[in-house]
Structures are given as C-alpha cells and as structure tokens.
C-alpha cells in the first residue's frame, strides 16, 4: 500500500527500500533493547526470589542443627554438627555455597530422612513436567479455537453456554472438578483409573492413559481462563477502526478475525497462555495430591506437613524458577510478535 503511494508520488523504489531498511534497523534495535531489559529484570527477580527462599531456613524458629538432632543432643554435638553443615559460617557465604550447589544439581539432604534431595527429585521433576506438558498440548489449541469461535459467534447460544461453563469451572475448587471427574469417569462409567500410578518403567501409552483424569482436570481449569481472555482480547480489537475497514471491504468474518484481529490480539493472548502454563506447573500440586500422582507437588505438600525445610526449599525454587522463566518467555514473545513494534511508521 505504502510503496504504491510512494511511487505514484514520484519517489523511486530504491529510496523507499532504503527508508524501510533504515526504519527496520531502528525497530530491531528498540526491540533488542526492550528484550534485554526484560531479560535482566527477569534474572534479577530470579536472584531475589532465590535469596528469599534461602532465608526461609534462617527464619525457622530455633536452630537447624538442633532441629535435626532433637532436644536431647548435647551442646557439643550440636556445635560439631553445625560445623559439619557449615552453619557456623556467615549467611552470605552459605547462600553462595547453596546457590553453587543447586546450580550443579546438589540440593542438600532432607531433614526428615537424610536422603539426598536430588535423588528424591529425579523422577518427580520428569513426571510433573510430563503432566503439565500433556495438559498444555491439549489446552492451548482448544482454548484458542474456543476463544475465536465464541468471539466470532458472540451472544449466540453457543457463546452463552461456553461462557456459563467456563465461569463455573473458574469458580470451582480444583479438587471438586477432580472428584466429579473421578465419580463420572472412574466410578460410574469405569473408563479411566482413579489413581494415576506411574513408575519410571511405565510405557508412554500407559502413562497417557493413566494420567487422563488428572490432565482432564487441569485442562478444564486452564481452558476456562485462556478461552475467556482470548475472546476478550479479540472482541477488544474487533471494535477498532481498521477491523471495521476490513469488514467494509467485504472480507469474510473468519478472515477478518484470523488475518486482521488476531495479530494485534496476540500479545495479551500469549501473556495469558504463559500465565496459565506457569499456573499449570503450580496447579499440578492439588491435582497430584488428588490422584496420588508421584510428582513434585505431592512431594512439596508432604514436606510442608513434615516441616522438612530443605526439601520445601528445593521444590519451591524449582517451581518459582519455572514460573518466572515462563513469564519471562511470554513477555519477550509479546514484544517480538507485536505488529506495531515490528512495522514502525
């Protein structure tokens, strides 16, 4: 459009290209700076969060060594044990040591049973990621399709019924949805197992089958949020003049939404997808407990009730880091895909 106008006005195509190249490089630079800013802010947050999680032990009433050895230990053994744990060193030095160990995969030992935490985590991290990824693969396309369809046919009976359904699944506690699904698909109609027993040597097909109900629960919770946000973002863009223009040109409603509305609605949609993926990683906690799924969430809940601080620390760090990194990726993607930033005037 632009180039046609330029050439009609007597300008050569060459000059036009130079102009576009010039503006393009400025845009790239601006995007790069924004991305770098966002990345450094993200890593700063990660650092501060790791400090907070580390200080959890410091805030524990009483002494860690005393806690492990019990009240009957003599002051000498406690002192010796403190030295062995490195508790006699200043906090800053211990933080550095902890961070270094964590980075090299050593999370320390559990207070409850003395086992190496990395050993406890080994299979569970994979299981939790499997559950979250499985749910995400189903939930993201489903919610995008539902969001686009409800925006396209808004205020129809289809839109209204999807709306009521998603509003109620947002209002329900996750364990309620989980137990309703168990009642429906494991007890009344025995399609799926109600307990998701998974072992390291379970074949993939079996894993997919056994994790069906937990995944259905997660999908129901997450789709509700993502679909509503997609619908809202698209409807928001639909009100703008350039969409009106596209419609007046006689484009089909589907083309208007996919080609004209969606690119500009993408940033909020990407954000909400990432937020929900991040939420998935955390939302698995409840679902894992309901279905007795051997993942990180179950380990976390068990450790909190046992007040096993070092395990809680390790698991919280993994969850928090995933959460922050996913949000970071979302922000960067939102910047990079923003058509207004990519095609500056």
């Amino acid at each position: 459009m632009d180039s046609v106008l330029w050439s009609v006005g007597g300008w050569t195509h060459d000059r036009n290209n130079v102009y576009e190249l010039f503006m393009g490089s400025i845009a790239m630079k601006a995007i790069l700076i924004m991305v770098l800013q966002r990345l450094s802010l993200g890593f700063l947050t990660l650092f501060v969060v790791s400090v907070i999680i580390f200080s959890a032990v410091e805030l524990l009433p009483g002494d860690l060594a005393q806690e492990i050895l019990g009240q009957s230990a003599t002051p000498e053994t406690v002192a010796a044990f403190r030295a062995e744990l490195g508790l006699d060193k200043p906090a800053v030095q211990r933080y550095g040591q902890w961070l270094f160990n964590v980075a090299s995969g050593d999370f320390g030992h559990s207070l409850a049973n003395g086992r190496a935490i990395s050993e406890l985590l080994a299979s569970r991290v994979g299981n939790t990621l499997f559950l979250a990824a499985y749910a995400a693969i189903i939930a993201v396309p489903l919610s995008l399709i539902l969001g686009i369809l409800t925006a396209l046919y808004r205020n129809s009976w289809f839109d209204r019924s999807v709306n009521v359904l998603t509003l109620s699944s947002i209002s329900f506690p996750e364990f309620f949805i989980a137990y309703i699904l168990i009642l429906a698909f494991a007890v009344k109609i025995p399609l799926f197992p109600s307990l998701a027993n998974i072992y390291p040597d379970t074949p993939l097909g079996d894993m997919l089958y056994r994790a069906a109900l937990p995944v259905m629960t997660l999908v129901m919770v997450v789709v509700a949020h993502m679909m509503r946000m997609t619908r809202a973002a698209i409807i928001n863009v639909l009100a703008s003049p350039y969409v009106e223009m596209a419609r007046l040109k006689g484009l089909s409603p589907f083309r208007v939404i996919v080609k004209h509305a969606l690119p500009n609605a993408l940033a909020p949609i990407i954000n909400v997808i990432a937020l929900n993926l991040a939420y998935l990683v955390v939302g698995v906690v409840v679902v894992e407990v309901v279905f007795v799924y051997p993942g990180l969430g179950q380990l976390l809940v068990d450790s909190v009730s046992k007040r096993d601080v070092t395990v809680v620390q390790a698991v919280s760090l993994i969850f928090a880091a995933t959460f922050i990194l996913l949000n970071l990726v979302a922000d960067v993607l939102a910047i990079v895909t923003n058509p207004r930033l990519l095609n500056p005037r």
Binding site: F172, P173, V304, S316, A320, N327
Partner: protein
Amino acid sequence: MQKFLSSWWGIPLSAQFGLLVITVYLLLVALAPWLAPFGETEILANAYEPWSSTYWLGTDSLGRDMLSRIIYGARNTVGIALIATLLAFLIGGLLGLLAATVGGVLDQLLSRMVDVIMAIPSLIFALLMLTIVGTSATSLVLVIALLDSTKVFRLARSVAQSIVVMDFVEAARLRGEGRWYLMRHEILPNVSAPLIAEFGLRFCFVFLFISTLSFLGLGTQPPAADWGSMVRDNATLISFGDITPLLPALAIALLTVAINFVVDWKLHAASGLKD
C-alpha cells in the same frame, strides 16, 4: 418494604440467586449452633453411616454427623476467609494509600517488595511460609492476608495516585492538614468504590485458596470442621459412588458462583452498559 421489593425485581435473575445464596450462608455462619442437629466434634455412630432420618447426610470417617459438620464448616471456612480478606484490605489499602501520599523512597521500597512477592506463585509462597510458621488457623490467616495484601496494595496505590494530584488534595495540603488527615478524609472516600468492588473478587480468591490449603491438610486443623478437609477425609467414599464427600466442595463452589454473579451484576451496573 415496597421500595425494597421494587428494586429487588429490577435485579437480574443471576444476581438475585447470588444474593439469596450469600444471605443463606451468612445465616449459617451466625446461627450454626442452633441449626445443626448435632455438635461439631461429637462422635455419634459408626464411620460412614448411610443417609438416614437421624443422620440426614450420613456420618463421616470418624462417625460424626455430616450435616452438622457442613453447617459448622461455614463458620470456619467462610469466617477465616472473611477475616483474611479484611486483614489483606486493611494492610494493602493502608500501605497503598501511604505509598501514594508519601511517594519517594517509601513508595519505591514498598512497590519493589510487592513486585518480588508477586513474582513467586502464591501457592508456593504460602506453602513456604506455612513450613516456617507451622500449620494452624492463625498462621493461615496471616500468611494469606500478607499474600493477598500485595494485590490490594497495587490497586489502592494506582487509584490513589490519580487522586493525590488533584486540586482539592493540594488545597488540603496547603491548608496545613497532616498526612493522616489527607489519607483519611481526602483520598480514602475517593478510592473506596473500586476497592469495595474488588473485595468480592478477592474474597472469592481467598476463599478458594483457603479451601485448597485445607484440602491439602495445611489449613484448619482437626477436629474443627472445614469444607476443604472434609472432602479430603471422606474422599474414599467417592470410589464407592457415594456423593456425600462432594457436598462440602459443592458448598464452596456455590458460594463462589454466587459471589461472582453479584460482582458481575455490580460491575455491569457500574460500567453503565445497557443490554
């Protein structure tokens, strides 16, 4: 009365339903000892008795009357959520107003602290804090109030910031009024409307959050009746096709749906849209 009735019929059906449900819940909270047929922690019969004329909803895993515990549960579950939300609004609102009025270093400090807390998923942060302070109803209320106050802080601060720069606040400042007077008499009346609108949504969130923690066994401790832990304790019945353990969960869901309906209606009315 006439006026009340005429305004009642002007409300959409969903909001009427919501208001009705909320009223019933408030009655349950207030009148639990008179409404419940048996005591909260009384062990009366064998475990898992089926529904009967004596025990309308059967008995739980320890032989306590289900119906009575659901009625008493309203006190613990709704009560704790209400206290936590109020506390969150008190802390968050006060600090938010203070940050907006004072500005400068204090504002920066508080805002960055809130940023960091909000960067950690709230369930994980709550679990971390509960490990440190131990699991009890009091620590639950404090932890959740602290977590939720961050969201109230952001709202209160951003709304108050647009009020602080207005002429009438400047006039009061020049008049020589103190900081507290400015916050209480000039700014608070102007930020209360959005804060009250937010209250319903935050309450829903806190209520679901507390139920979840109780379900995980980290909230209200036994023998106090609580809807979240009642689901967990009696969950085995579900595998026999019995829906009794789902009733406390249904009670939770019903209240959040009701509040959402009322908030939806209020927001719709406030936005001035006509459909």
